[in-house]
């Protein structure tokens, strides 16, 4: 995949860095985000996902308070 991107960049000075930056950035952000999401405690996840189902007249102070 990387070769496929790089192949076309030879004509432009310094341009090959851009798609590299873009891919690296994306994968870093993706992995970091994934780790955060998987580490979220199940209880708070469940509570937040109930938010639309709340009766419209009440709120809850959710976990960790």
């Amino acid at each position: 995949m990387l070769k496929f991107i790089k192949h076309n960049l030879e004509g432009i000075d310094g341009i090959e860095i851009y798609p590299m930056i873009s891919l690296l950035l994306f994968f870093t952000v993706f992995i970091v985000m994934l780790v955060f999401v998987l580490k979220l405690p199940k209880t708070s996840i469940d509570e937040i996902s109930q938010l639309p189902l709340d009766s419209d007249n009440n709120n809850k102070e959710i976990s960790n308070e």
Binding site: N8, I12, I15, L40, E47, L51, D56
Partner: protein, 723 residues
């Protein structure tokens, strides 16, 4: 802590609901009208064939249809859902009632302004960004009002955690603002005329960065937010996986912003930018399908409800349509499939799966559900809603399938060669007449869909009449305690992040800006990306005026100016288009659909008389053509009063007109016009009919001058290259 009492603002929700229905009917009606023009090109010539009505021509009505459906129908639909769900998810009334009203009336004023200016031919020509600069400014102001209102509501919320739907709203708010401003940077000439500050390839990249992300952040992210609120709400079940929704959100906004160049595959856009677009478009299928699965599986264990509840039926087809469109998108980004689909009706079918199924059905479901809540009464007729559902679903099928067939048929006809190396269908028109039955079926599909939507209108009006007068809902909730901005012991990072609204908004902005910068900055800064061609010269005054008429009439809605480097296209149209040929094209006019043939190398292909007769009655030179008659271009005097102003504006943008060029502009214009009239007079038929009409003063000479210039700049080079 003591509970506070407050009221949800239902009035504003109701206002957006009526606007959604009204503009839905209008937008679809105009859509049906333009669909009928494909089969009956003379349908709207009420004043006779020799007096065609300019503001009812296809080129001017098509942008009206797209803008009405996107910004008026879906726009009001998402505001309807956002104003309803935001208040309830955050346990707070909207930040400020006055801002809500300004947002509503401002948005409607913009729509009315668009509905007036677009048929008048006041357009910047850039798709879904056609509005001229004064309206653009109002759009930005109203968007800021919406932004203050939304962020303000978030800040005064009574619910600590911000549900995923709200993040999608924030992403929409930020990204649309960025995209809209950058794509609409224009140099004004007069009150309603401006030139894009970008030219050619740069303008194309900027436009499709915008165009693609208008789909992403106006038609997708806000509607996903609505999905995450209304599907669980109606099904009374939480979303399938909240973790997945977080992954969905970040991946989607991060990937979407890069994908724009897939609209420009095989064009004169540099290769690296095209490939970047392909790679990111293909990756997009993962978050998109993650979202679809999340929405559909929210209904797990509730499928029995789907059978009984028309609202859920609409949602299921909508989410399925989202899945189909987002599968097709990445597929169309592969270069080999794009080579088939681009410029054909496949694309039109693809976007209508998105518009009719995903947006239209999502909004229909929400409208039915909210109507019951707003008027506190059951829906007037569930049966009618079910009828709407089936009419709409059939409408989608009858719309999309014929266009897929038409797209493939036409693409293959364009590419078919005889054994001796000539094109089998050398006459472009044969490939158009072949698919006319498909256009007829498409119009039937559209009529079914519109009929269904009218049933919705009737149903909601009856429901409103039967129900109680709209009152604001009373609610009570405990205000939030002040807690530390730091993470609390045991609190997850993301949980912490999502309650820090401002930080969250900034991170979202950063995510979308990175994509935009990496994609666009190199192209704007590095000159070597667009090789210059010495023989390419700026347009003459008459050609410039002709080009502005081309823009006014929306010719680019049906004719591309971009010959791809395929054997079939070079054979049909001539040498493929080079990036360097467009450096004086403010804005670019590459087009996106070939209802008619490409015109980039039309210059010199036919004589002036052919163009004259063709404009007056396309059927006279090309029997069976479905192009509108442009009789007013022959009747109207050419108004060149802004000529110097236009040239001066272009000089500021970098076009090398000299002081002398500008001072002599009018004389040069007249000289070239006289020359064209001279050419026309060589035809005795012309002299007989128009000998006394002083055609040199009419708009037609300008458009002929422009068309005859198109693509001729590099002809000198070609001969030297062949040696």
């Amino acid at each position: 802590m003591e509970k506070e009492q407050f009221y949800y603002d239902n009035k504003i929700v109701k206002m957006f609901l009526w606007a959604t229905i009204l503009w839905g009917v209008v937008g679809m009606l105009v859509g049906l009208l333009v669909a009928l023009l494909f089969i009956f090109p003379g349908l709207l010539e009420f004043a006779g064939a020799d007096n065609a009505i300019s503001w009812l021509s296809f080129g001017r009505l098509r942008p009206l249809h797209t803008n009405a459906v996107i910004f008026a129908f879906v726009g009001n639909g998402i505001f309807l859902g956002i104003y309803y769900s935001t208040q309830r998810l955050l346990k707070a009334r909207m930040f400020n009632d006055v801002l809500s009203r300004i947002h509503f009336w401002g948005w409607q004023a913009i729509i009315v302004a668009a509905a007036i200016t677009l048929p008048l031919g006041l357009t910047s020509s850039k798709e879904y960004a056609e509005l001229e600069w004064p309206i653009d400014i109002v759009v930005v102001l109203i968007w800021v009002v919406f932004g203050i209102n939304l962020i303000g509501t978030i800040l005064k919320r009574r619910q600590r955690h911000i549900y995923v739907a709200i993040w999608f709203y924030i992403a929409t708010l930020i990204t649309i603002a960025v995209l809209y401003i950058f794509n609409n940077l224009e140099m004004p000439v007069t009150g309603f005329k401006s030139y894009s500050i970008y030219a050619g390839v740069q303008d194309a990249l900027m436009q499709w960065w915008y165009g693609h992300n208008a789909v992403a952040f106006f038609l997708t992210t806000p509607v996903l937010g609505l999905m995450y609120y209304f599907v669980p709400k109606v099904a009374n079940r939480p979303v399938y996986s909240y973790r997945l929704s977080i992954i969905h959100f970040w991946t989607l906004i991060f990937l979407y912003i890069w994908a724009g160049p897939h609209h420009l595959l095989y064009t004169a856009l540099p290769e690296w930018a095209q490939n970047l677009g392909t790679v990111f478009s293909v990756m997009l299928i993962f978050p998109s399908w993650g979202g679809m699965i999340n929405g559909l599986l929210a209904l797990r264990g509730a499928w029995d409800k789907v059978r009984e509840n028309p609202v859920l039926k609409f949602f299921v087809v909508a989410i399925t349509g989202y899945g189909m469109a987002t599968f097709e998108g990445p597929m169309l980004s592969f270069k080999n499939l794009n080579a088939i689909g681009h410029y054909t009706d496949w694309i039109v079918g693809h976007v209508h799966i998105g518009a009719l199924a995903w947006n239209g059905f999502m909004i229909a479901g929400i409208v039915y559900w909210i109507a019951e809540k707003l008027w506190k009464t059951p829906l007037y007729s569930k049966k009618l809603a079910n009828t709407h559902f089936w009419l709409g679903t059939l409408g989608i099928i009858f719309y999309a399938i014929p266009l897929y067939v038409a797209g493939f048929t036409q693409a293959f006809m364009w590419k078919q060669f005889n054994p001796d190396g000539t094109l089998v269908y050398g006459n472009f028109l044969e490939t158009v007449t072949q698919i006319l039955p498909m256009y007829a079926m498409r119009a039937i599909g559209g009529s079914l869909y519109l009929t269904g939507f009218i049933l919705l209108a009737v149903n909601v009006i009856k429901t409103a009449k039967a129900g109680s007068r709209v009152e604001d809902d009373l609610a009570e909730a405990v205000p939030l305690k002040k807690i530390s901005g730091q993470r609390i012991a045991g609190e997850g990072w993301h949980t912490w992040l999502e309650r820090r609204t401002v930080l969250f908004t900034i991170l979202t902005t950063v995510a979308i800006l990175i994509g935009g910068l990496v994609e666009i900055v190199p192209l704007l800064l590095i000159k070597s990306n667009i090789p210059t061609i010495a023989s390419v010269k700026p347009y003459t005054p008459l050609e410039l005026e002709g080009r502005d008429i081309y823009i006014r009439e929306g010719c680019n809605n049906c004719h591309s100016q971009m010959i791809r480097p395929f054997r079939s296209e070079v054979e049909r149209y001539g040498e493929y288009s080079k990036a360097g040929e467009f450096i004086y094209d403010f804005p670019f006019l590459w087009g996106s659909r070939r209802t008619g043939p490409d015109v980039h190398r039309i210059g010199g292909k036919y004589n002036d008389n052919w163009h004259f007769n063709h404009m007056l009655d396309p059927r006279s030179t090309s029997p069976g053509s479905i192009m509108p008659r442009y009789s007013w271009i022959v009747q109207n005097d050419l108004n060149a009063s802004d000529l110097e102003g236009k040239m001066k504006a272009l000089v500021k943008l970098g076009v090398p007109y000299s002081e002398e060029d500008i001072n002599n502009a009018k004389e040069n214009l007249l000289a070239q016009a006289k020359e064209i009239e001279g050419n026309l007079r060589q035809d005795p038929e012309f002299v007989k009919n128009y000998g006394n009409s002083n055609i040199q003063n009419k708009e037609i000479v300008a458009i002929i001058a422009y068309l005859q210039r198109l693509g001729t700049d590099i002809k000198v080079n070609e001969t030297t290259a062949q040696k």
